[in-house]
Symmetry: C2
Subunit: 449 residues, 2 copies
């Protein structure tokens, strides 16, 4: 499905902030609003864009170019009479839309979560009519008064749209999928001197040719003010974590990693650079253990753990997620773990050169890669991802994930109880592996019953 | 698709061997011929069977039961007049076949490779007519003279079937998919006192309602004699290896593992028992290293490597392949590797207690799980399996796979050069991991170009 982005408007209220640039070129966490919209569409499978230009349109064209940098194709449609209303802007796309083509329409100042677009595109492809997204969380909207309200019929069709509606079920999110019928409706509105998209919608509604799409808990936001921008910044940052992290990561690391991500995002630093930095910081920690500075080693290990969260956050914030990035990060993390345990072992052994120390070190080394191995092998053997919350029983509370293991290393370094740290690592990781072996066996018996 | 298996015939020539049992109950590598046919069908997605009984049919029914042990549903159709010909046997299925149902027909004495059936079932589902499999490798057939020959038209339809054909393109494999029209054709043949399936086929051919399916390189075999049985035994054993093994496994281990599999297959030993045995044997080898018996330790390590091939062979030979088996085997193998390296390290360190030895041991330990980790993570990150032959460049010749690593351990133990063994393991495994990281990065750049 192709997308039309309406980027002609001026955005009065925010003009001061945008310094003469169109609103959609304001930067938000390292990317302009318009780039965020394009990337969100790309994540939903959209590869071709028609961007309608009006106010300072050349700046937009110069900034985005033909889209090759974003991995998409962009065509620009200058619209001389855009000031009449956004219906006129949309109408500029008419001659580029093919007969019977269904197309997305988005506003250049409305941020939309990629997952929302993905679901919307799927639904639009199945629906013979036009589709518009609405949000029923009215109390949570920052500017509920100014929102365009939507009244929905019992069968999901749109009955009425307008700012002044008394009875309504939700607010318009500025996300549409239209058939070319919309152009005829816009022309009917133009004929009675009404020029907004809402006016065109009225004629589509009379034909009963548009349905509502309830967005549920997905995020979208109309950016109208400096205040909106800071809310958006907060919302985007709080969505950067996958939810699969361990509790150390959720409770401790995330506070720091979000702050680091927020600062790094404005620089030309790739997630892979951060992964490599996290690895190097772990090596520094291992060396500090070896040269008998366990306190600093422990702190540095925890810093490496925090950085290990930043790469993923940065990748997601910049829509830069790559399979290779995930692959390299995994391999480097395993090496970092092993070097850290080696550093700890060398430290303990230099003070207590006994066979017991070597044995404990060996057991800790052995367990280090097992958590990941179990999960990855599970996926390739059974074809479904391993979900620790469902399959690890009470052992899911053990700090056997990477964030938990590095936390143990930090604590044992700070308290100068490194041998106990090794012992804890060895017991926890190997015990969990054993537990998983048995829980997977049980699970398998259940499915064949 | 359901399958009809014609198991009524007597099998004159092989009667001595089968000791009064129907031919299809002869054991071949731990399973009867009939079980092999049922399991091959199950692997191709067939879950319901109609088995036509004649000669000593009760023995078959008693042996297989309702199929719940095999995870399928079996209905038995006794056919009193089976001796007239196999057309009569097939006709016994008529009242169980639904209107318009397409069904498989197999001979109870024809072994068929599961992959052949899978492809055949797919093709049959797409084809509006009946379908019969033919093999054009006439020179490789053990009893080419006695085979039923098939003449194929230019558009893939069957033109003629019979033992005495002069012009033919291949031999009938005894694998069919029929529409219920076959019953009408059989009845037309019965009316002129002809009672074989071939006679029915003649009438199907006159209606141009049957097409040929070229089986290519797949394996099938008609079991008619003691000699056929020994060929089948050889063919099945030679197909038990996946082809993904390293060269040590292909050149050395397989000879031994095939022999062990051939012997174990007649006992009630599960593949998982063999996996656990292989693990325990590796632990014994590690202990032998620790108690300073490197020669025996090396040999025992190699024996563990051989056993590591037997579990998979046994699983495939008995149609017992399970995701949990693969999962457990992977985890146990990793532990076995680490214990072996620990044993080697302890042995070397007891004679040369230096930091260098510890460092080398650490490097070897670190590399041990990496080969598997790289492959598994690649699969989950990119969604396609890692194919060493394509992606490892010249490093695919390094003995970095498990069979190669255990071979290094054997050689270093036998020659009592265990430190060099550790060094070789550490260098090879870590170097390959590094190589893979760069080769995956290059590959990724290629795909985004």
């Amino acid at each position: 499905m192709r997308a039309v982005i309406l980027a002609a408007g001026q955005g009065y209220r925010i003009r001061l902030l945008s310094k003469g640039k169109p609103k959609c070129l304001i930067r938000l966490l390292g990317l302009t609003i318009l780039e965020r919209i394009v990337y969100a569409c790309r994540a939903a499978g959209v590869r071709e864009f028609l961007i309608v230009l009006g106010f300072e349109g050349e700046k937009i064209r110069r900034f985005l170019g033909d889209g090759s940098r974003q991995g998409v194709k962009i065509t620009y449609l200058p619209c001389p009479h855009w000031e009449k209303g956004n219906g006129v802007s949309l109408h500029a796309a008419k001659r580029h839309i093919r007969r019977g083509e269904k197309f997305l329409v988005l506003m250049s100042d409305h941020l939309v979560q990629p997952e929302l677009l993905q679901r919307f595109v799927e639904e639009a492809a199945d629906c013979p009519h036009s589709l518009m997204a609405y949000d029923d969380r009215m109390s949570e909207l920052p500017n509920a008064n100014e929102a365009t309200k939507v009244r929905i019929g019992s069968r999901g069709d749109i009955l009425k749209v307008g700012k002044g509606l008394r009875r309504y079920q939700g607010a318009d999110c500025g996300v549409f999928a239209f058939t070319p019928l919309i152009f005829k409706c816009l022309e009917e509105a133009f004929a009675i001197s009404r020029f907004t998209l809402s006016d065109g919608l009225d004629f589509l509604i009379r034909r009963r040719a548009i349905r509502g799409f309830h967005i549920g808990n997905f995020y979208w936001q109309d950016i109208d003010s400096r205040f909106d921008l800071s809310i958006a910044r907060y919302k985007i940052l709080s969505r950067l974590n996958t939810g699969k992290e361990g509790w150390v990561s959720r409770v401790i690391n995330r506070r720091f990693s979000n702050q680091i991500t927020k600062r790094l995002i404005n620089y030309n630093i790739t997630p892979n650079m951060v992964s490599i930095s996290s690895f190097l910081v772990a090596i520094v920690s291992a060396i500090l253990f070896i040269v008998k500075m366990p306190f600093s080693a422990g702190l540095i290990a925890q810093f490496s753990s925090i950085l290990d969260g930043v790469d993923g956050e940065l990748a997601r914030a910049k829509f830069h997620v790559s399979p290779f990035g995930g692959y390299m990060d995994s391999i480097l993390d395993r090496y970092a773990d092993l070097f850290l345990i080696f550093g700890m072992s060398a430290y303990v052994y230099s003070r207590q050169p006994t066979g017991t120390v070597l044995l404990i070190s060996f057991i800790a080394l052995m367990g280090a890669p097992m958590s990941m191995l179990c999960k990855e092998k599970f996926y390739s053997a059974f074809g479904v991802p391993f979900i620790p919350d469902q399959m690890d029983g009470w052992t899911r509370h053990l700090p056997a994930n990477r964030d938990g293991r590095l936390f143990i290393i930090m604590v044992s370094g700070i308290l100068d109880q490194v041998l106990y740290g090794l012992l804890a690592l060895g017991i926890i990781t190997n015990f969990q592996t054993l537990y998983r072996l048995f829980s997977v066996k049980r699970m398998k018996l259940k499915t064949t019953d």
